[in-house]
C-alpha cells in the first residue's frame, strides 16, 4: 500500500485515495472542431509508460480534492504531488 502525500492534508494511506489515470489530459476547448480521430485520442487513448508517470489522484476519503502525482510505475516511488493547475515539478529526483 502506497503512502501518498495529499497537497492539502499531508501523508496518508493509499486506501484513502482513488486513482484518476493520466494527468494533464485537458478536455478539448472545442470538441466540435476536432476530427473523429482527434476526439477518439482524447476519449480513449492514454499513455502507459514503464517509468515516470504524471497521474491524477483524489483524496476521496479525506478532503475529497483532486491532485497530481509523479509516480514511477515500476518502483512505485512517488517523487512529488502537486495541485491541479500547477505545472509538474522538475523530475530529476525520480529514480
Amino acid at each position: 500500500m502506497l503512502k501518498i502525500t495529499c497537497p492539502w492534508c499531508g501523508a496518508r494511506e493509499e486506501i484513502e485515495f482513488s486513482y484518476g489515470g493520466q494527468a494533464h489530459v485537458a478536455y478539448p476547448a472545442d470538441p466540435a472542431a476536432l476530427s473523429d480521430d482527434e476526439w477518439a485520442q482524447y476519449v480513449f487513448m492514454r499513455d502507459n509508460p514503464k517509468g515516470v508517470f504524471l497521474e491524477r489522484w483524489v483524496h476521496s476519503q479525506g478532503c475529497r480534492r483532486w491532485f497530481n502525482a509523479v509516480r514511477h510505475t515500476v518502483t512505485h516511488q512517488i517523487d512529488a504531488t502537486y495541485k491541479p493547475g500547477e505545472p509538474p515539478p522538475a523530475q530529476a529526483g525520480v529514480k
Binding site: 500500500m1 502506497l2 503512502k3 494511506e13 482513488s18 484518476g20 485537458a26 478536455y27 478539448p28 470538441p31 466540435a32 476536432l34 473523429d36 476526439w39 477518439a40 482524447y42 476519449v43 480513449f44 491524477r56 483524489v58 476521496s60 475529497r64 480534492r65 483532486w66 518502483t75 512505485h76 516511488q77 491541479p84 493547475g85 529514480k95
Partner: protein, 1000 residues
C-alpha cells in the same frame, strides 16, 4: 517411558511444570517451554505424519517456521485448526493434536500404496495422467484425488474467537529479535526513536537460546534477557512477541500477525482477542530474519529421524531433547559441522560425521575427535534405510567407491545455509547469488531498509552482533541522528563444498526417492523430468512440478530445486534465477485478516428513517447498494407474485405509497450552477424557472448514458439534483471531478443531502385527494401545481417540499421532509390514505409500473454501451449547446446503423415472462447454439414482468435495429425452446400520457 529422550539438566524447559497432552489420541507428557515438536521428540515420537502425494512416513525436519512435514490438526470442533506446524506450537495443558493426511492412522496408512504407483505420480501428473478416458474424470479420478490429497480439515463451525487490528507508525521497525536484531534495535531505542521490535517466538534471543555462547560476560540467553528488559522499560519501544511479520509492501508498509492466546489453549484467555493483525508504516526497517539450513537430496532423505543439523542442536540445547541413541551427521560446511558438534555437546549421541569435504577445519575435526566421534571426510551419504524411522545409512567416498552401511537411529544434515531473504525480496529487493556460500543474499532495494545478521551471511555470533550494530548505526544516521559509522562486517566463510544432491555429485543413479520439496513430495527426478520435457523457466518448472508451492512456500526446497534445474539445463544458477517470493511469509488465518469486520460489520447497512415501519408491516427487503429497500409488502398468504400484482393494480386504480428516501440527492449551489448543469446534462437548464423540475440524462465523454434523474431549481443559484440510488456517490464524485479538474473557474458547490431528506412518494389517481387532505392550505390543482414543479408548504403539520414528478405515468407527488420527520410523514400519509385504500409498495412494483411506461432504469436497461439515441431519447439531447459526450454522437461507431435500440416486446403467449438477459434471435430454424449454423443473437431482454394492468407478460429489450422492427416477431431463447414475441414501442401503457394529471 515418559520423556525417555530428555537430556538431564539441559534446555530451557520448566521441569516443575509438567503438561499433559494428546497426540493421535495417545496421552503424553511434556513441560512448560516445550513446543509440540520438542515434547513429541522427548517421548521418542518421530513419525508424525504422512506425505502429501505418496503417503510416506514423515518426521520432524526443522525446529521452526520452515517445517514442511510436521503439520497437525490442532483441537476439535469450533476451535479446530488445520496444518499447524508442530515446531511452532507452544505446549499447553490438555493440548490435543493429530496427524493430517493419513488414513486410517499414521502408523498404518492404506494410501501408502500410492508409493507403489509412484511412476504415474511424477511431475505434471495432474496434467498428464487423468486425461483419459474423459468420462473417468468426474466419476473416478476427481473423487480419488480429492479423497487422497489435501491436508487437514477446515472447521465447520463459526469461529468463537475475536480478532483485532492495530495500526502502528514508527521510526524503526526491527524484524527478528535474535542477536543481530537486538544489536540493531538497542542503539535506536536508546536514542529515543520510536522503535518496534517484532519477534515470532515467545522469548527474545533467537539462536542465543539454542547455542552455548558468551557475550559481555553473560550467557547468550542472559544477554538476551537483559536486552529485552532494557527495551521493555523504554516508553518509546513497542516490543511484540509471538508476532510474525508476513508481508513487506510498498513505502515500508509491513503486516504482522500477533498470537495472543494460542499458547494458553482454546478458550483459556476469555476477553482477549485471539490474534491481532498489525499494520506497520516505518520510516526505516531492519530485517534480521536469520537463515534456514538446507537439506541434501539423497536416497530416502525423508525418513523420520532425519533432521536439519541446526534443528537437532536447538532440540538438544533449548529443549533438552536428544533424537536417539546413535546419530550420524552429514554435512558439507563448517556451520553444519558446528551444529552437529554443539548437538553432541548436549546430547552425547553422535557416532559418525560424514563430511563431503576432504579437509574440513582442523579445529572442528579436533573437537570431533575429542568427543569420540568418527569423522569420514570426503564421504557422502548415498541412501538411508528403514521403515517408519531411519535405521541405517549407506556411505560412499566422493569417488563413489568404498560403500559401507552404518547403523543409526537419527541423521543430522546440513547442505549449507539460506539467508531468509523472503521479506527483503517482497520489499521489493533484488538478490545476488553467492557462489562460495551457494545461496542468495540481499542485493539492492529502493525501500528504506537495512539487513542485519545471518540474512547477510554473518552467521557466527560475533559477526551477527557486529553486523546488527552496524545496521543500527546506519539506521540512526539515515534518520539524521549522530552515529559513529560501524564498518561493514565480512560475511562468513563456511568453507562450503557445493552439494545439492548426492546422485548429481556421484554422477550415478541411486536407489530410493531423493526429496527436494518434502511437503509437496517433489523429488530430484521430477525436476530433471521437467527439464527434459522442455521446461526452461524456473517459474514454469515450479508450477509444473509444484516444487515450493505447498503451505511452507518452499522454505527448505526452493534453492535446492533451482540448483538442480540449473544443473539439468547446464546453466549457471544466477541465469536460471529465483521464483518470486510473495506474501504471506507464513500462513495467516482468515479470522485474523477479517478482524472485527464480520457478520453485520462486514459491510455497512443503510436503512431509511421509515425502515422500522417496513419491518413491522412485513416488508421483504432487497439490497440496493448498501441500502435495504422494501421489495414488496406481502399480505398474509401472499407470495411475491400475488403481492406485486396487487400493488401494481393499486397504483393504477387508486393510490400507492413508496419510500423513495434512498434516491441520491445532491444540493448544487453557486452563481454558475445552471451553466454547470448545462455542461453535464444533455438537455438545457438555463431557462428552467425557479420552482420547476426537469428530467436530465448524463453521459460520459464516450457518449454513453451514465445516470438520470429529476433536478429542481430551488433558487436562481440553487438546484436539487436526484440520482439513481446505486449511483449517488459516483455522480457526486463525477461532478466534483469536472468542477475541480476541468472547470475550476465555475463557482459551484455540491453537497450530498441524501441522508438529510426523507422522501415519501404518493402515486396514483387518488394521490391528489390524499395530499389535499394532508395540506388543506396548499392548492394541488393542475393549474396551480403543474406536472414537473414543486411547492413548499405545511404537510401534515410538517414543513415539506412537495414535488410533482412521476415514475409511473400516474398523477404522483413526492413529499420531502427532513429525515427525522420521515417516519411521522409516512404515518400521516398512511392515515390520510386509508379511505382510498392507499397501498404500500416496494421496488418490484415500482419496476413493473415504470416498465409499463417504457421508463428506463440505468444499469438495468443500460450497460455503459447505450447512447440516448439508442434509447429513443433524442428529445432530451440539445442541439444548441455542448455537453459531456456530445462530440461522440457523431463518431462512426456511435452513429452507425444496426446499433441495439430500446424496444418493447409482447409475447404471443400472454402468460410468458421472459428471463432478463435472455437472447433474442430472428430465425427459429437456425436457433441452435452452433457458431457455424446458429442464428446470431440480435439483442437481449433487459426488463421483464407480468403486468396486471396490461394483463400480459411484457418486456423491454435492446434489439439490433429495433425501432425498424416494430410489428415483427423475434424469438426469445429459453431453456425449454423458443418463445415468439412481437416487437413494439417501449411505451405499453397510456401512450398519450393522459393519466399524469389524474383521471377525474
Amino acid at each position: 517411558m515418559s520423556n525417555a529422550f530428555r537430556i538431564a539438566g539441559a534446555g530451557r524447559i520448566d521441569r516443575n511444570a509438567p503438561l499433559a497432552f494428546r497426540f493421535n489420541g495417545r496421552p503424553l507428557q511434556g513441560y512448560a517451554g516445550d513446543t509440540l515438536a520438542s515434547a513429541l521428540l522427548a517421548n521418542g515420537v518421530h513419525l508424525v505424519g504422512r506425505s502429501f502425494k505418496y503417503h510416506r512416513p514423515r518426521g520432524i525436519l526443522s525446529a521452526g517456521h520452515e517445517e514442511p512435514n510436521a503439520l497437525v490438526q490442532l483441537e476439535r470442533g469450533a476451535y479446530t485448526e488445520p496444518n499447524l506446524r508442530a515446531t511452532e506450537i507452544e505446549l499447553y495443558e490438555g493440548l490435543d493434536a493429530s496427524s493430517v493426511n493419513c488414513w486410517p492412522s499414521v502408523d498404518f496408512d492404506l494410501r501408502a500404496a500410492f508409493g507403489f504407483a509412484s511412476p504415474i505420480l511424477v511431475a505434471g501428473f495432474y496434467n498428464k495422467t487423468f486425461k483419459w478416458p474423459k468420462s473417468f474424470w468426474k466419476k473416478f479420478y476427481e473423487p480419488m484425488i480429492r479423497a487422497a490429497a489435501g491436508l487437514g480439515t477446515a472447521p465447520t463451525e463459526a469461529d468463537p474467537d475475536t480478532y483485532d487490528r492495530m495500526h502502528w507508525h514508527c521510526d524503526v521497525l526491527v524484524v527478528g529479535a535474535g542477536p543481530a536484531g537486538l544489536a540493531a534495535a538497542l542503539p535506536a531505542a536508546r536514542a529515543g526513536l520510536r522503535v518496534a521490535l517484532v519477534e515470532e517466538a515467545h522469548e527474545l534471543g533467537g539462536s542465543l537460546l539454542a547455542r552455548s555462547a558468551e557475550i559481555e560476560g553473560l550467557s547468550g540467553s542472559e544477554w538476551a534477557a537483559r536486552a529485552a528488559a532494557e527495551l521493555e522499560a523504554l516508553p518509546n519501544v513497542l516490543l511484540l512477541r509471538r508476532t510474525s511479520v508476513f508481508g513487506y509492501y510498498d513505502h515500508n508498509y509491513l503486516m504482522a500477525v500477533e498470537r495472543r492466546t494460542d499458547h494458553a489453549g482454546p478458550g483459556r484467555m476469555p476477553g482477549i482477542a485471539r490474534k491481532r493483525l498489525w499494520h506497520f508504516r516505518a520510516r526505516r526497517v531492519v530485517l534480521a530474519t536469520g537463515a534456514h539450513e538446507r537439506p541434501i537430496a539423497f536416497g530416502n532423505n525423508d525418513l523420520p529421524g532425519i533432521m536439519l543439523a541446526n534443528a537437532a542442536c536447538t532440540y538438544a540445547q533449548r529443549y533438552g531433547v536428544s533424537l536417539g541413541r546413535a546419530g550420524l551427521a552429514f554435512v558439507n560446511n563448517d556451520a553444519g559441522l558446528r551444529h552437529a558438534l554443539d548437538t553432541h555437546a548436549a546430547a552425547r549421541n553422535l557416532t559418525h560425521i560424514v563430511d563431503a569435504r576432504v579437509s574440513p577445519d582442523p579445529g572442528l575435526l579436533r573437537r570431533a575427535d575429542e568427543a569420540g566421534i568418527e569423522v569420514l571426510t570426503g564421504h557422502l551419504v548415498s541412501t538411508a534405510g528403514g521403515g517408519k524411522r531411519v535405521s541405517s545409512v549407506e556411505v560412499r567416498g566422493i569417488d563413489g567407491g568404498g560403500a559401507r552401511r552404518i547403523a543409526c537411529d537419527h541423521v543430522l544434515m546440513s547442505g549449507g545455509l539460506n539467508p531468509v531473504v523472503h521479506l527483503y525480496s517482497q520489499a521489493p529487493g533484488t538478490l545476488r547469488y553467492d557462489a562460495s556460500l551457494t545461496c542468495f543474499l540481499p542485493d539492492r532495494t529502493l525501500q528504506a531498509v537495512e539487513t542485519a545478521g545471518a540474512i547477510n551471511a554473518c552467521f557466527a555470533l560475533d559477526r551477527a552482533l557486529a553486523d546488527g550494530a552496524r545496521a543500527g548505526a546506519a539506521t540512526l544516521a539515515a534518520l539524521g541522528h549522530a552515529a559513529a559509522p560501524v564498518p561493514v562486517e565480512a560475511r562468513d566463510d563456511l568453507k562450503l563444498q557445493t552439494l545439492w544432491s548426492v546422485q548429481t555429485s556421484l554422477n550415478t543413479e541411486l536407489p530410493g526417492k531423493h526429496f527436494v520439496d518434502f511437503q509437496n513430495d517433489v523429488t530430484e527426478r521430477d525436476i530433471r523430468l521437467a527439464a527434459r520435457e522442455g521446461f526452461r523457466s524456473v517459474e514454469h518448472t515450479k508450477r509444473y512440478t509444484t516444487n515450493g508451492m505447498a503451505t511452507d512456500q518452499g522454505k527448505t526446497s526452493n534453492v535446492v530445486g533451482l540448483a538442480l534445474l540449473a544443473d539439468a539445463l547446464a546453466k549457471p544458477i544466477p541465469e536460471v534465477g529465483t521464483t518470486t517470493f510473495r506474501p504471506p511469509f507464513t500462513p495467516v488465518t482468515f479470522g485474523a485478516l477479517a478482524g472485527r469486520d464480520r457478520g453485520a460489520l462486514s459491510d455497512p447497512v443503510r436503512t431509511t428513517p421509515i425502515h422500522a415501519w417496513h419491518v413491522e408491516n412485513g416488508a421483504v427487503f432487497e439490497d440496493v447498494g448498501q441500502w435495504k429497500r422494501p421489495w414488496y409488502f406481502p399480505l398474509p398468504g401472499e407470495d411475491m407474485h400475488a403481492a406485486v400484482q396487487r400493488e401494481s393494480k393499486a397504483v393504477r386504480t387508486t393510490a400507492g405509497i413508496m419510500d423513495a428516501t434512498t434516491l441520491g440527492k445532491i444540493d448544487i449551489q453557486g452563481p454558475d450552477a445552471a451553466e454547470f448543469l448545462n455542461r453535464v446534462y444533455t438537455n438545457a437548464w438555463t431557462k428552467l424557472g425557479v420552482g420547476a423540475c426537469r428530467y436530465g440524462l448524463m453521459c460520459k465523454p464516450d457518449g454513453m448514458v451514465m445516470d438520470d434523474g429529476v433536478t429542481a431549481r430551488l433558487a436562481e443559484d440553487r438546484f436539487l439534483m436526484t440520482t439513481t440510488t446505486g449511483n449517488a456517490a459516483r455522480v457526486l464524485d463525477w461532478l466534483e471531478e469536472w468542477l475541480q479538474t476541468e472547470w475550476p473557474g465555475l463557482k459551484v458547490y455540491c453537497t450530498s443531502v441524501t441522508e438529510q431528506w426523507s422522501t415519501v412518494a404518493v402515486v396514483g389517481p387518488n394521490s391528489r385527494k390524499i395530499l389535499q387532505a394532508l395540506a388543506p392550505e396548499m392548492d394541488f390543482s393542475n393549474a396551480a401545481f403543474p406536472f414537473m414543479s414543486f411547492r413548499e408548504g405545511t404537510v401534515a403539520g410538517l414543513q415539506a417540499r412537495v414535488f410533482r414528478i412521476s415514475f409511473s405515468g400516474e398523477l404522483a407527488y413526492e413529499i420531502n421532509v427532513p429525515s427525522w420527520h420521515g417516519l411521522a410523514m409516512w404515518q400521516a400519509v398512511m392515515a390520510a390514505g386509508k379511505p382510498y385504500g392507499l397501498t404500500p409498495y416496494g421496488t418490484e412494483t415500482m419496476h413493473v409500473v415504470r416498465a409499463e411506461k417504457g421508463y428506463i432504469i440505468i444499469g438495468q436497461d443500460t450497460d455503459g454501451t447505450v447512447t440516448p439515441q439508442d434509447l429513443g431519447m433524442d428529445w432530451i439531447v440539445s442541439k444548441q449547446k455542448d455537453f459531456i459526450g456530445r462530440r461522440s454522437f457523431s463518431r462512426p461507431d456511435t452513429a452507425r446503423a444496426g446499433r441495439k435500440q430500446l424496444v418493447g416486446l409482447l409475447p404471443a403467449d400472454r402468460s410468458f415472462v421472459a428471463a432478463e438477459g435472455a437472447h433474442l434471435v430472428a430465425d427459429p430454424q437456425r436457433a441452435r447454439h452452433d457458431p457455424a449454423t446458429g442464428s446470431p443473437s440480435l439483442g437481449d431482454v433487459t426488463s421483464s414482468y407480468l403486468s396486471p394492468n396490461l394483463e400480459t407478460g411484457f418486456a423491454l429489450a435492446l434489439l439490433a435495429d429495433g425501432r425498424a422492427l416494430h410489428g415483427r416477431t423475434v424469438h426469445c431463447v429459453t431453456a425449454g425452446g423458443l418463445q415468439p414475441m412481437t416487437v413494439v414501442d417501449p411505451v405499453f401503457f397510456d401512450k398519450e400520457g393522459k393519466r399524469r394529471d389524474g383521471i377525474d
